[in-house]
Symmetry: C2
Subunit: 341 residues, 2 copies
């Protein structure tokens, strides 16, 4: 078995163990059985939808990068797993609330909470997930627990700002590529970066080491989001778990849209702007828009950008002392880069 | 000047200093000026509504009780004020999200965020307030900062469960008085109790002392919520800051409703149930319902209950070592008990 296959097994094993911990934690916190002594009352309107969405699986990128970062600096899986569960729960909070704002009907192949129940329920489930994420985080034993919680809190604030930009940009016709990168930094890259920072703090890494791995994970985060934009138009729907063209329907200013505007000739650019603004459920022009993305070279450009950010991430690993850690993190980038979902 | 008047001045002074800290913290975190270097971009869709709602004032019960509890065990105002700001911000998060779920149009005499802007904006502002509350909390210097954050997180989770029960009860015809007390414990009393616990931890109080002040603040929390239920029907609207009869419109299972069901004769009970279920904006029967609350003795009973919980709170102070601390906390209970808003 070659290195990458072996590494994939390690990751699969970690994913299983993270899922197990997540599942046992949620059982303990939210299952009916824990509430039998509470006046016979159980807030099922909160915990049934919460468990519905949390049982939907996920790629577990953030917890994995947290654990790998911890190990990179000599920490152990077991010491990092509660924090890993915390970043995964926090990520799920953002999904639940973003899905309301983005009118998304499905997530990981399941109905979203606000669709299956209602908006109030989805708001409350998201809020509760924030609370549960901090509670799991606080199980972590670290003499720098205050730094751990501070970084985590930075993550909460950054994703909110990122989501605000994302929504603002939907109705803003002057979004630049710079603006886009600011938005995805906050909305996506920061939580991935912070996951690696938290793992490193748990391993008691030096500030220089943390700086290095921050560069790695932030670049990976950029690559990851551009790939998400790309998958929104080229993925296979059953694997992607959400509707193809969702970004187009919500008039998101994605990498592809902004890049196509840059690359198109004048006439095609006008046509794209018109198609994008008129696109809705009654008048579906998603296919035409994707054609322009292909023809203009925006899709190719996205692929090159993903490759470039991944390379940048891998380059920042050069300062790492152990070859094994470098290997692992490089393999992790490769895995992410080659995902189809 | 008598003791109570003097104490009122102390509280007014604390309130001013808490407001100043809250205001300077929010300016630092959310004002345009802090964002000039950020690509020229400022998430105004997030921070304008956030500052709109946060400039609406408030009674500052939770931060005051936090600071008073800290001082009770020898801590200083300055060491507790960042945590005090944190519990106030956290409280405001619950208001913003609850107002969406409860369809409230006004809060503290101002339009609610989801009315003035939209639901997405209000969701995001609430989320951001959680992040900002933790960030302020983490400015606290305490060797037991992990316990501080853990208690705070318990508060987040408890209010979510309380809100879930509150919403469930709207459509549940079998809510008992026991259920009601479980709900208001989680929705209101816990965050007040936890505020006093956090203040005490910052002062490095013993676990026995913390237990004592917990009993005080939790009972105060119960008194406070029953009074809130009462004010919903008897307050002067301009002082109350929200619409009179709001609980009735939302079919909340309040103390008054449940108590009136208990106290009424059979016919009147049936009439109340019918009025309550048929009450809406087209068919406003709020006045008739309030009449039943008065006639049945439910209003008198609420007043007696408020008095009883306040007495219980004050009794739990007997173990406190310093007379001055007892005096202050008793005066605080009296102030709360006699509020008209």
């Amino acid at each position: 078995m070659n290195y990458l296959d072996n590494f994939k097994n390690v990751i699969a094993d970690y994913r299983t163990r993270i899922d197990e911990r997540l599942s046992s934690y949620l059982t303990e916190e939210t299952n009916l059985i824990s509430y039998v002594n509470m006046n016979g009352k159980y807030p099922s309107s909160l915990y049934e939808p919460l468990n519905h969405i949390m049982s939907g699986g996920g790629k577990r990128i953030r917890p994995l990068i947290l654990v790998l970062s911890c190990e990179t600096f000599g920490g152990k899986f077991e010491g990092a797993v509660d924090a890993a569960v915390a970043v995964e729960i926090l990520h799920n909070f953002t999904l639940v609330h973003d899905d309301i704002m983005d009118n998304a009907n499905t997530r990981r192949g399941k109905e979203t909470i606000h669709k299956k129940w209602d908006v109030s329920t989805a708001i409350l489930v998201g809020d509760e997930l924030i609370g549960l994420s901090y509670r799991s985080l606080l199980k972590t034993r670290s003499r720098r627990i205050d730094d751990v919680v501070r970084s985590f809190t930075d993550g909460v604030i950054e994703v909110c700002e990122g989501q605000a930009f994302d929504k603002e940009f939907e109705t803003d016709d002057n979004v630049s590529m710079n603006d886009y990168f600011l938005m995805i930094k906050k909305k996506t890259a920061e939580l991935i970066r912070i996951s690696s920072v938290i793992g490193s703090i748990i391993a008691d890494a030096s500030s220089e080491d943390i700086k290095g791995i921050s560069t790695y994970s932030q670049n990976l985060g950029f690559a990851f989001q551009i790939q998400d934009d790309l998958l929104d138009v080229i993925a296979v729907e059953s694997e992607f778990g959400k509707k193809i063209g969702g970004d187009i329907h919500e008039k998101k200013k994605t990498y592809l849209y902004l890049k196509a505007l840059e690359l198109c000739g004048n006439d095609e650019r006008k046509r794209l702007i018109k198609l994008y603004s008129s696109n809705d459920l009654r008048n579906d022009t998603t296919g035409d828009i994707i054609d322009i993305y292909m023809r203009s070279g925006a899709v190719e450009s996205a692929k090159a950008e993903i490759k470039s950010f991944t390379d940048k991430a891998n380059e920042s690993l050069s300062r790492l002392k152990t070859e094994d850690a470098k290997h692992r993190l490089r393999s992790f980038s490769d895995m992410l880069l080659n995902r189809g979902y």
